[in-house]
């Protein structure tokens, strides 16, 4: 269908694994939260990829009247004929939009992600204050 095929999904999986690796392999708690952030962004990218329609535009309605205006302006400025105005009007009617639903869901996800990040970071600050370290292996086995 497009040159892209499944490339978007694979790239998203690579990013997701980058975040996952940071989460499980790194012992620094701040680094873990950064990894969580990368993971979250990759999930958002995946959902937005689901909503994309090739050749589509952002889901903001272009009114037919506006399309007419655009056509008339073009006519006045560039001296194009009535058929161009009509073509623009038709384009305004049959315009292809991407899917707005994943966008809405991901708006929510971004805000919730920042809320969890803030909570996680305040936990990290408290752990540093009490234990003097934020390295996971030192928290488990004592400072090296």
């Amino acid at each position: 269908m497009t040159a892209l095929g499944l490339f978007n999904y694979w790239a998203v999986i690579v990013l997701m694994m980058v975040g996952f690796y940071t989460l499980i392999a790194r012992s620094n708690l701040v680094k873990k939260l950064i990894g969580l952030n990368i993971f979250q962004t990759s999930v958002i990218l995946m959902y937005v990829s689901f909503g994309k329609v090739t050749g589509g535009t952002a889901p903001i309605l272009v009114e037919a009247a506006h399309a007419e205006e655009v056509g008339e302006t073009a006519e006045a400025v560039g001296g194009v004929g009535a058929e161009v105005v009509e073509a623009v009007e038709v384009a305004g009617e049959a315009i292809l939009y991407s899917n707005p639903l994943p966008h809405v869901l991901m708006l929510t996800a971004i805000v919730v992600g920042v809320a969890t990040l803030a909570l996680g970071l305040s936990l990290v600050v408290r752990i540093k204050e009490a234990y003097g370290t934020i390295e996971e292996h030192e928290l488990l086995d004592g400072p090296s």
Partner: protein
């Protein structure tokens, strides 16, 4: 395929590769300050990618919240916890194995996915056409369909989101609004709590007696570093 579509796909591929490079650099860096800066860049590049994929609302939310507020929060934390990550204690063979296996299974899973950008993909056929065609009449004259869906069709989602943000805010306030908490120090294989006001002599007597133990920090209680603990302090670096 028109020229515009081809351009958009090239930009899409380039930005995705940039994102992957940024992500891998974030893993490799041991300086947390640089990693946080790269996280901001990562968010900004992904915001560009959202614009290419027509999600303009998501893009400016990501640019403002992901690249803006997240970076500020992370920098504020680094000011308190230090910005140097410790050297790894062992080679990350098991995590690499887990990540490669998981990634492989996910890539296998995509073989059943509809192609990217297809207008007949299942995701495009359910409620999306209804939103695009009817929101103008059902919700009001709001040109941006994302706004209509956010505030009207899926208004309960937004309300739940507000509840989550409120809960997180309450959690942050509860965690950070209290004064200094009891310190923990490492003693003979375990973390023990220092009770406020406990002296070193009392503590040593307790340890000898085998009772509940705690070690008093000799400096005043607002000093973040107990005397017998200096390891793990990143502040020495900056």
């Amino acid at each position: 395929m028109s020229e515009g579509v081809l351009m958009a796909e090239i930009v899409d591929i380039v930005l995705l590769i940039l994102l992957a490079i940024t992500g891998i650099m974030i893993i490799r860096l041991r300086n947390l300050f640089a990693a946080v800066m790269l996280t901001g860049i990562y968010s900004l590049v992904s915001a560009g990618l959202f614009v290419v994929m027509d999600a303009v609302d998501v893009a400016f939310t990501e640019a403002a919240v992901g690249a803006g507020i997240s970076t500020v929060l992370l920098l504020g934390t680094l000011a308190l916890v230090g910005h140097q990550e410790a050297e790894p204690t062992h080679r990350p063979i098991l995590p690499l194995f887990v990540v490669i296996i998981t990634g492989g299974i996910l890539v296998y899973g995509t073989s059943q996915m509809p192609p990217f950008g297809g207008p007949d993909n299942p995701a495009q056929l359910h409620v999306a056409p209804h939103y695009l065609e009817e929101s103008e009449h059902e919700v009001g004259h709001i040109p941006n369909v994302v706004t209509s869906v956010l505030a009207s069709y899926r208004g309960y989602d937004t309300m739940g989101e507000t509840a989550v943000v409120f809960a997180a805010m309450v959690g942050v306030l509860l965690l950070l609004s209290r004064g200094p908490l009891p310190k923990r120090v490492f003693h003979e294989g375990q973390w023990i709590t220092v009770r406020p006001g406990e002296t070193r002599e009392e503590l040593e007597a307790e340890i000898k007696a085998g009772g509940p133990v705690g070690i008093e920090a000799t400096p005043p209680p607002d000093d973040p570093v107990p005397p017998d603990r200096t390891a793990g302090e990143g502040d020495t670096h900056g």
